[in-house]
Symmetry: C2
Subunit: 361 residues, 2 copies
């Protein structure tokens, strides 16, 4: 068993932390021999943020509230649009004053099933993640969390809702930790356990087409599931805060690199400053991948066809035929959809004056 | 009767077209002697755009779809947010690439009751209005309506919905006229006939506070209703396409002008190129004014208090006391709210590639 794990380790460039959970998925000659899993109908919930109705409803409001950004132009939903695939279909996102971020926005859908957040895994939890963009100068651009909280405290309706959701009295109930908890609680409801794939795995054999079933077998035999395993197709189940990071590209290709400049970004090493983390990324989910073009951390690849081709080449050193690509893309399309209906929030009022700054470019 | 209308005409600087409907509101010594009207429970609907369920639901999707903008960052809702007061609480709105528009976004709520659209009345109907921002280079920035339609035709779900809403077969059903009609049909549902004021006028005497009732009398005796009359507080009922335009300021004040630079914008004259239209504007609604700070066509005034003070001075040459301002603001607050619950749309998909351009600033 140990040797098998070690082999797998080399094959997959897994960080030490992620290794121990691997035995269960590595039991045959193939790099992956797990069983196909449907997504659980509920996301894991941390003990200190149970996600009561009041918490989720508060989070829903905050998620859509552009007043969390300095100039009132950017809400969480601007870059992670829950009316569509949970991102913005841009290579990199547009923040305040028309600035562009450095990486492509990952989908918010099913992010509750990831054990670390951001492309480089720099946040352990959805709660930690939610705090980042608010003060990122090229995203929402608030000068500080205190400034964001001071603004929310000017909105009487929010004070009441924070009290209801997290206790505390008056403005004191509004804290950055409660903001982050509420947004995370809402995000844990953004899951899609009813895609065609999930219905297929649960026994509805017509939920996937013949082509999609061919693609399903292909991602297994090609080796894609070495990394994109599990119900969320983003790696093995790991404790929260334990990232499943992989090097990209494993098999560098100068023609592809020239075209897409993947290695310009150092990935996880930008956070850890360790050479061994260079060009490592958290394995992204395949769920809703068909709705989140353009692709990769820098959004350099326009279509899912090309993304599949590039991944096979750079990660597995394989050239896929057009038919294989088409089958895999068809399968990936079966991992989209089944979105739960979303209620549109009404944002609490700040009457008779504006709380946002009218920035000019 | 004729002389009375003529007097009123001089007093109000009304454009010729608007004059004939005035008799009914000008029957006493005061400039306004109408009766307080609640908002109708349905907006007027043009014969050629009845607003069927399919039309409204299509319009709801288009209204929230950022793919109507070149780079996928701006939807109708970005600047006219129906989760709040129907605008963006900015002096001027942020378009694509962080560009700023020239005028403050008016609220979409109850725009169905206006007889012309835009600050300068350059669109006669909601349908005409909806087409403007799509190709405005500093708003949604599409190179042409044809380009917008070509993009929508790439989205299979939209083709089906246009067919259902407006007939026609396949991609041919998707036209700019149908886009405009659908958005307008949705906007005609965005009305607020159940504010505290409306409930008060319909007989619920506790719907307004004593202070609000004082403010209600004050706006009458001060003369504000000379222009802000009618159920929508935006002028007399006029045929669609007939604007109720007023000069602003009527009584120029150099100190105020220095501070807020109101006259830099020529208003309606920017469209008509007529000197007689300089600094004329369509009278905006008071409904939800408490939620749409900052104020005026250029968004130069931060608070509703100051806006009330400035209006009394510049339009009626009156200095209000602090108590009078407070009462009027309280009344105006009674013209907000009562928003109908909004259903969040799911946007039709364009799988496996992005249709938007990832602009950089």
């Amino acid at each position: 068993m140990n040797r098998r794990i070690d082999n797998l380790r080399n094959k997959m460039n897994v960080l030490a932390l992620g290794v121990l959970s691997f035995g269960m998925v590595a039991s045959s000659g193939s790099a992956w021999a797990g069983s196909w899993e449907a997504l659980p109908k509920k996301a894991p919930v941390p003990a200190d943020n149970p996600g009561t109705v009041a918490q989720v409803e508060l989070g829903r409001k905050l998620y859509f509230d552009p007043r969390l950004s300095l100039d009132g132009t950017v809400s969480c939903n601007s870059c992670h649009n829950v009316m569509s695939g949970g991102d913005d279909n841009r290579a990199t996102s547009a923040g305040i004053r028309g600035q562009n971020g450095g990486r492509s926005a990952p989908t918010v859908w099913n992010s509750a099933f990831l054990s670390v957040q951001f492309w480089d895994g720099r946040a352990n939890t959805l709660e930690d993640q939610a705090k980042g963009p608010i003060t990122n100068p090229i995203e929402m651009g608030m000068p500080s969390h205190d400034a964001a909280i001071a603004r929310l405290r000017e909105i009487p309706g929010y004070i009441t809702e924070f009290e209801k959701a997290y206790g505390g009295k008056g403005a004191e109930a509004v804290t950055i930790d409660h903001v982050a908890k509420a947004i995370a609680a809402y995000e844990r409801t953004l899951i899609t356990p009813n895609t065609p794939y999930d219905r297929y795995v649960r026994g509805e054999k017509k939920a996937l087409s013949d082509q999609q079933v061919r693609g399903m077998k292909l991602v297994e035999t090609t080796g894609c599931l070495s990394c994109h395993m599990g119900a969320n197709f983003s790696g093995p189940p790991l404790p929260i805060g334990t990232g499943f990071f992989q090097k990209f590209p494993v098999h560098p290709d100068s023609v592809i690199e020239k075209k897409y400049k993947f290695t310009k970004d150092l990935g996880r090493a930008e956070v850890t400053k360790k050479e061994s983390d260079e060009n490592f990324y958290r394995v992204p989910t395949w769920r809703n991948v068909s709705l989140t073009a353009p692709y990769f951390h820098n959004g350099a690849v326009a279509t899912l066809d090309e993304a599949v081709r590039v991944m096979a080449k750079l990660q597995l050193n394989k050239e896929l035929t057009d038919a294989e690509v088409a089958d895999i893309v068809a399968f990936l399309n079966g991992l989209s959809g089944g979105f739960p209906e979303q209620k549109m929030p009404r944002l609490p009022e700040s009457p008779n004056r504006s709380l946002v700054v009218s920035t000019k470019n």
